[in-house]
Amino acid sequence: MPFVLVALWWFLSAGSTSLYFPPLARILSSVQHVWLAHRFSSDLVPSLENLAAGLLISTILGIAVGLLLGRLPVLSDAVTPVLEFLRAIPAVALLPAAVLLLGIGPDMRISVIVYGTIWPILLNTADGARSLDPILADVVAAYHIRPRDRLRSIILPAASPQIVAGVRTALSVGITTLILSEMIGSTSGIGYQILSAQQSFAVSDMWAGIVVLGIIGYLLNVAFRGLEAYVLRWHRGMRQLVGS
């Protein structure tokens, strides 16, 4: 099916003289000559690096703070209203302020990505860590499981399905935030190049950027699903067994 659609696009657009919908052949050649050539290291790689750094920071921070909130109800009750307020502000709405405070460097973009992606990870982790099965709590007490084993071998794996779901959400939020931050406050990156191509009527370059973005999103999803299948192999196996 995907091949049929691409083929259809190829042939229908082949003779196109429209300014806005150039032939697919031209878009692909732009992908090859622009995005996989000089812009690969000047725009593509830095964009992906920022995305990776942002996601890494928010995953680590989100899990750490989430565990803390999940295990300390008093703390959780105290800060939840604040968190709910902060979370309600879309990260992209903070872009102008972030540009003002942090300039237009990678620091600004990473910060905004962290702000946008940390919430699903943090809240899901807190949720997953909050409720330990009372029988497991008895096991922990009866067998004197050490605190660090309790965290590493019981609470964290028990919360892992929810944590992974949070990271999956964060991934798509992260891409959106990255692109927008590059469109608004940057002089490089995929988002910036797409916008500047549009503004200089380099329409096939613009489409090429969008296609590249689609491919990146797709590949990231595939990679993430692989990671998920490995981390949650016990969960999947157990569910399949119950379902059968």
Binding site: D133, I135, L136, D138, V139, A141, A142, Y143, H144, I145, R146, D149, S153, I154, P157, A158, S160, W234, H235, G237, M238, L241
Partner: protein
């Protein structure tokens, strides 16, 4: 042979041995707060468990047997009275005690292999990785699951999962093994197999076993002594010495007239109690 012998029994502990008990409860009371009311569950329970004996606590469902066991395990604080282990009051779960819970599917960790489930409590004992692995392998062999070390618990049948839970308790090398309705969620044949397994392990390792059950046949078949709980709040109705020959056998023990007598006696006690509650 045994037909003329009366059921040796007593109210509140005349059948208790005079040897110093390994674990003992003295006048244990426990109430739960339900809404605004205080619901008493245990109403002064005194039980003495002798070293190396197999004690079954039997009573109707909802009689607070599990509450009693959780108090003995140090998992629950009694409202008053005390649990003594070797004469010392139990404040928190003692290292000499291992517990097997009823719900094996929830008491084992689904994200860990069978072997790692057994090894986890051993980390706290400061054992080296090698020693942990060795002990886990020995325990698995003892319960007949040598081949299953690297599987996940949920890949095993219910009976096998409960064997893993028993292996985890054994590897912990406890002096007292507390079992809370351990065979209540498996089918009849598996249940009989597990009963014999636990009898075999007990005579092999000499561990003291306290097993809570609502199954009268099971209590008489397994125990050296049966403690019958009744009433609301629960008290010890009677303690019965099970003078059946050992080793026990699912067929030849259960056809003994003495088995039927003991069984009938326990059943009568529980029935009387039910009638009294109903009226």
């Amino acid at each position: 042979m045994t037909k003329a012998v009366p059921v040796s029994a007593s109210r509140n502990g005349n059948a208790e041995p005079n040897v110093a008990p390994i674990i003992e409860t003295t006048d244990l009371y426990k109430s739960y707060v339900v809404g605004e009311a205080l619901r008493p569950v245990l109403g002064g329970v005194s039980i003495k468990v002798r070293s190396h004996e197999f004690l079954c606590i039997v009573g109707p469902s909802g009689a607070g047997k599990s509450t009693l066991l959780r108090c003995m395990a140090g998992l629950l604080e009694p409202s008053s009275g005390a649990v003594l282990l070797d004469g010392d009051p139990v404040q928190q779960p003692p290292a000499k005690v291992a517990v097997v819970f009823q719900d094996y599917s929830r008491s084992l960790l689904p994200w860990m292999s069978v072997a790692r489930n057994i090894m986890l409590p051993l980390r706290a004992k400061g054992l080296s990785k090698v020693l942990q692995r060795e002990r886990a392998a020995e325990a698995l062999t003892a319960v007949g699951l040598t081949e299953c070390a690297d599987l996940f618990p949920w890949q095993l049948s219910g009976g096998m999962q409960q064997r893993v839970a028993i292996a985890r308790a054994l590897a912990y090398e406890p002096e007292v093994l507390l079992m809370d309705e351990p065979f209540a969620s498996v089918d009849a044949q598996t249940r009989a197999d597990l009963e014999d397994l636990i009898l075999g392990l007990r005579s092999k390792f000499g561990v003291t076993v306290v097993l809570v059950t609502h199954d009268i046949d099971e209590s008489v078949y397994l125990a050296d002594r049966v403690v019958v709980m009744s009433g609301s709040p629960t008290t010890v109705r009677e303690t019965i010495i099970v003078d059946l020959p050992t080793p026990r056998d699912q067929v030849s023990t259960k056809v003994l007239p003495r088995f039927a007598e003991l069984r009938a006696h326990v059943l009568t006690l529980i029935r009387e109690d039910r009638r009294r509650l109903d009226s």
